[in-house]
């Protein structure tokens, strides 16, 4: 029994193929304006390494903002439920999931079965979402990967006073013009990002274990700043945090089939 999950996000589309117990293949591709085409290209990329075709998939669940427009899925499930399910499947001790996507941020509390207990999301304000980091990386002239890797220098750390992405951008430009070290500015950006996420996380009430999903979880600067601000460690997942939503969708697909069989 082979199942799949497909997560069509604002910036990236992810696909995961699952057999009985393990991940057979996974893929991440950039999202295009057409969710159906993005889904197809992510799924094709995942299928390519397995020698399987779409017809070999017994059931496929879609998630992400484009989930209603994926032609080959039989069911659509919310991103919140999928991130919870995926994180639980990877690490059953997880009770709080922080998912930072390209245009949103979610803090999700889950029970011992991986069901969502409560959640908070922000998709209204770019601060505290992946977009904040994207804007700042562009001004700093570094890649998103490099932005996360900067370590602050020995001097007085820089603090960004503004929450708003637009105002914080002006602050970053000011620091660049003042010839402040790029590493110090980048660290300030990562800390500011973590600060916004921490507010959402505290709002949902953190229970351990805590893990992070979504593309921003690959940014070590944000991750360690968030650990510091929340005063607790964040468990690292044993696979690409960006595919956890698609993984959760695939787990839903399998549960759906198992439910039908029993």
């Amino acid at each position: 029994m082979i199942v799949a999950g497909c997560d069509v996000g604002s910036l990236a589309t992810k696909a995961v193929i699952l057999n009985q117990r393990s991940i057979l293949a996974q893929a991440v591709v950039p999202s295009t304006f057409d969710p159906a085409a993005s889904a197809r290209s992510a799924m094709d990329a995942a299928l390519a390494s397995t020698g399987l075709s779409l017809d070999d998939l017994s059931f496929c669940v879609g998630t992400g903002y484009g989930r209603e427009r994926i032609p080959f899925v039989s069911r659509a499930v919310s991103e919140i439920a999928c991130h919870a399910k995926g994180a639980h499947w990877l690490m059953p001790s997880v009770r709080t999931v922080i998912d930072i996507g390209g245009q949103d941020c979610k803090a999700i509390r889950i029970d011992e079965k991986g069901n969502v207990v409560r959640f908070l999301t922000n998709d209204k304000c770019a601060a505290g979402t992946g977009r904040f980091l994207e804007v700042m990386a562009r001004i700093l002239g570094v890649s998103l990967e490099d932005l996360g890797a900067f370590k602050p220098g020995p001097g007085e750390p820089i603090q960004l006073a503004s929450t708003c992405t637009v105002w914080a951008q002006a602050e970053v430009i000011h620091h660049l013009n003042a010839k402040k070290p790029k590493a110090d500015i980048a660290s300030a950006v990562n800390r500011a990002m973590a600060g916004r996420v921490a507010i959402l996380a505290r709002g949902v009430g953190i229970e351990r274990d805590l893990c992070m999903t979504g593309g921003v979880a690959k940014n070590p600067g944000v991750l360690s700043a968030l650990e510091q601000q929340l005063g607790t460690n964040i468990r690292r997942l044993r696979l690409d945090p960006q595919i956890v939503g698609a993984l959760g969708a695939a787990v839903f697909a399998r549960e759906h089939l198992e439910g039908r069989q029993s």
């Binding site: 304000c125 770019a126 929450t163």
Partner: protein
């Protein structure tokens, strides 16, 4: 008696000179990186227009975010107080002032003497300030001063679904790519900003007569959008709305002198 007001804002600096209770001259410049330099230049230009020297000014009040960097000021006053005083001096029937600046927005209620009795203020979020329109104009390849005239031709204003400047900018770009009419997009942006500002203003329970001040009030499309969002007409001011803060500072300077 000659008094002056100097309003050093984030994007522009304004100066007004009052002589015997009448506006003698005024001037507006783009702000320099150094607020002191802005103050000197704008004041110099206003003095030149009035054919006066700095020494002729009996009392000068500074306002705006750079108000503490005006070396020749005798006193400083908050922007809120100055906008209230300036609008009320121009039109004593004004009870509510809505000021949209380049980096903030304020709503304030004044009594019959022009004293501020309540106010609400946003400088935390760029959405709901003049910066919103500035960034959107940039995304559309327009100058912000083109937006008012361009919105006049709107037939079917677009509903903008994002509040955040960053997200709205992306939305605008895709609306343009979809081939939506530019006038309709601009009229939609005016509505979006008007709704943000009105939700700020609701906090102070605005009472008529309402006046709009600040550079954004020069945008005719924005003026009308704010009237629609408020559901009442705005009182047009008989002066450049951008200089109301500096005017208020000059009026306060006059009152301080008289009080002495």
């Amino acid at each position: 008696m000659i008094t002056a007001g100097c309003d050093v804002g984030s994007l522009s600096a304004k100066a007004v000179i009052l002589k015997d209770g009448l506006v003698r001259s005024w001037h507006v410049i783009y702000a320099k990186p150094d607020p002191e330099e802005s103050a000197r230049e704008v004041m110099g230009k206003a003095l030149e227009k009035a054919d006066l020297d700095q020494g002729d000014i009996d009392f000068l009040v500074a306002t705006g975010y750079g108000r503490n960097a005006v070396p020749f000021a005798h006193a400083s006053e908050s922007e809120i107080a100055c906008h209230g005083r300036g609008a009320s001096w121009l039109a004593p029937q004004v009870r509510t002032v809505i000021d949209i600046g380049g980096q903030d927005a304020k709503a304030l209620r004044v009594d019959s003497c022009g004293r501020v009795v309540r106010y609400a203020y946003n400088d935390k979020c760029a959405s709901g300030t003049g910066r919103f329109l500035e960034i959107m104009a940039g995304a559309m390849g327009l100058d912000v001063s083109d937006m008012g005239p361009a919105s006049e031709n709107a037939i079917n204003p677009v509903a903008i679904s994002n509040q955040c400047v960053v997200f709205a900018e992306t939305e605008i770009i895709s609306l343009i790519n979809e081939g939506r009419d530019k006038s309709d997009i601009i009229a939609g942006l005016h509505r979006a900003l008007a709704h943000r500002v009105v939700s700020l203003a609701r906090g102070i329970e605005p009472e008529p007569v309402i006046a709009m001040t600040g550079g954004v009030a020069k945008n005719t499309g924005m003026f009308r959008a704010l009237e629609e969002a408020l559901g009442v007409p705005l009182l047009p001011l008989e002066i450049d709305p951008q200089i109301v803060g500096a005017l208020g500072a000059a009026v306060i300077a006059m009152e301080r002198l008289k009080g002495k």
